[in-house]
Amino acid sequence: MRSVVVLVSVAVACALPEVASAQVFTFVSRTGSPRETERAGTTTTLLPTQPIGIRDCQDETWRFRVNFRSNGTSAPTGLEYWIGAEMATCGMSVNRTGTTQRCWRIEGGRPRQNITPTIPTYSDMIDIPASRLIDPVNGNCTASPTGSATGSVYLSLLTVPLNDMSLQTPAYAISFDLQAPDAPTNPRATGGESEATVEWSYQGSTTSTTTDGGGSTSTSRDLYGFWILCDPAPGVITDGGTTDDGGDAALDASDSGNNDRNFGDDAGTIGACGTGAFPVTDQNLNQESVFRRYQCGFVSGGASQATVTGLTNGQPYRFAVVAQDLAGNRTLSTASSCVVPGPVTDFWESYRGAGGGAKTLACAAGPARGGHVFPAAWIAAFLAGAAVRLRRRRVR
């Protein structure tokens, strides 16, 4: 019996096209995600171990180098790119069709490649949309074909003709996270001089699982940071007029001149605070042009407050906080109540107002503002004097 099994195994092995190189897919790049330029002044290179998020899925393209060499006795007539729900399931036809299907052929892009049997080597650079990696059939960005919003998919190459003799190359694991994080709650703001302090609560405790190409996984807290959104947008002052202040024309048109949304045209009342819906909503949260228009700050990690600077004194503002997870997915809080930045009394003003008579350096020694006189200079002068005296004594 054992001999039969061995013989059958050898026969199957000889019939299968062999793959000389164990690593068929080599990651080259992933480009097109808005996450690459979302931080002012920096460009972020997304790594293959970072999960694909909703915003990546919509715009991103993954590039791989493919190296396939068949030296079996039965050379394949073609190759196809497939996505599997598990690491090694696509070789069997039962997993590719019917109710037990666990593998799906990528229908967009370049699903099939013909190779020349006499030169059984295939080497290429392929670009696959992130949406096709997650949902190879429809290219949607809501869930994988198994219905999961988080997890991993496995890219592999199958030899044609497709049958139970088809070879599945070693799969390349790609993690994805299409689940938005928990929303920050209870946003509240207090005004300062040309600034406001925004605080919020956040209970999110989910973890993110990332998978590298080889399938190794690691977990971490699924939180990247918080964006602070301002209404009116930075630089916009509600002046009570009816003319456009130069804001986004499409956004202006979208609210039909409803001036309680400060898309660049004016609120109905001088110094009014927005009373309608916050201009960034769950519907336009992932529209980068809208989001960037209203963003006025970012804090990384698990912060629970941030100071927004550069505001206009006397102009009412309200704020919303957006949680962003490690896959770039965002969730919007409700809007805070309105605050009005204005002049504040610092300690010096309070002291002087109570009759304090101390003079500052500016008063005592001319215009010394703009930099602190480091007391080390005073100490250094003392030390230098001591050293000089000592040297003189030694010379004598």
């Binding site: 600034e195 550069g310 080390a376």
Partner: protein, 291 residues
């Protein structure tokens, strides 16, 4: 950066001289010194303790602007600003002594210089139309103080050197200069996280500027007198071999824990113009090394 350069230049100029400094001796041979002990010329103290300046004691100041501004609690109705109570803050400082003269069988007389830091912070109130203070905002205003002083130090170490009682009483007296500044707003970083701003160019001119409104510091100097008396507890007897090895390898003769009562009479006595009253008195504690 200029400050650092100036400090580095001063240190580089003075360090060689100090390195060659020695302790002069009067009163005969130093019999209290161990046969294998290295030369002892300096002392270094690292200290910390409660600190609260008496700003409101300045003549001419109405009410209690300092206490009411930095109030942590109230002893009575909040309508009376002088019911405000401010908790002590931590003052940390470093003192370097040159033990210039050994008076045998008694102790050492030296010169010491020190620099420290402490601050108070409170949420600034809004300025109402009549100029009075309104509700507290989320913006902080702080008083920062960098006290420096130069003192004569006498350490009565005869007890520790000639008996088994490991204590060294000491006294200090000298003058000081406190450098202070008041800030509003400050670093727009809270919660330990960096705030990044929009790529929107309308924000960049203000938010990326160090000169944004409200953060300009007011600064000044307060001169005065400094006194202190304390007791050092010599740690050598706990691990004599370790201390001896430390001396052989690094030249540290003795190590101490100390407690000191410090008096800072900082009212601008050496200044022709009125100064912020930064007087205080309290206990400080720390560790000291003689080397």
């Amino acid at each position: 950066m200029k400050k650092l350069q100036m400090f580095a230049l001063a240190v580089s100029l003075t360090a060689p001289g100090l390195a060659r400094a020695q302790t002069f001796t009067i009163g005969g041979t130093d019999r209290g010194r161990d046969r294998y002990e290295s030369n002892q010329n300096f002392a270094l103290e690292v200290r910390g303790g409660p600190w609260l300046p008496n700003v409101d004691d300045e003549p001419g100041v109405r009410g209690c602007p300092f206490a009411s501004y930095f109030a942590d609690s109230y002893d009575g109705p909040t309508t009376n600003p002088c019911n405000a109570r401010v908790d002590d803050r931590l003052m940390v400082s470093l003192e370097f002594d040159w033990q210039a003269l050994r008076i045998n069988y008694v102790g050492t007389l030296g010169l010491g210089v020190s620099v420290g830091y402490s601050s108070l912070s409170a949420f600034a109130p809004t300025t109402q139309s009549d100029g009075s203070a309104g509700m507290r905002t989320g913006q902080r205003s702080s008083l920062h103080v960098v006290p420096t002083y130069a003192v004569a130090v006498f350490r009565f170490d005869a007890i520790a050197r000639h008996t088994v009682v490991p204590i060294v009483p000491y006294v200090k007296a000298g003058f000081g200069v406190d450098y202070w500044w008041v800030s509003i707003g400050g670093d727009p970083v809270t919660g330990g996280s960096q705030v990044y701003h929009s790529t929107d160019p309308r924000l960049l001119p203000e938010s990326h500027s160090d000169e944004r409104p409200g953060t300009e510091a007011v600064e000044g100097l307060t001169t005065g007198l400094r006194y202190a008396a304390g007791v050092m507890f010599r740690l050598d007897f706990l691990e004599p071999r370790v201390q001896r090895a430390w001396d052989l390898e690094m030249g540290v003769n003795h190590s101490y824990l100390f407690a000191e009562y410090s008096v800072a009479d900082m009212r601008g006595q050496f200044s022709s113009s009125p100064s912020l009253n930064l007087s205080w008195s309290n206990f400080t504690f720390g560790v000291a090394l003689e080397f």
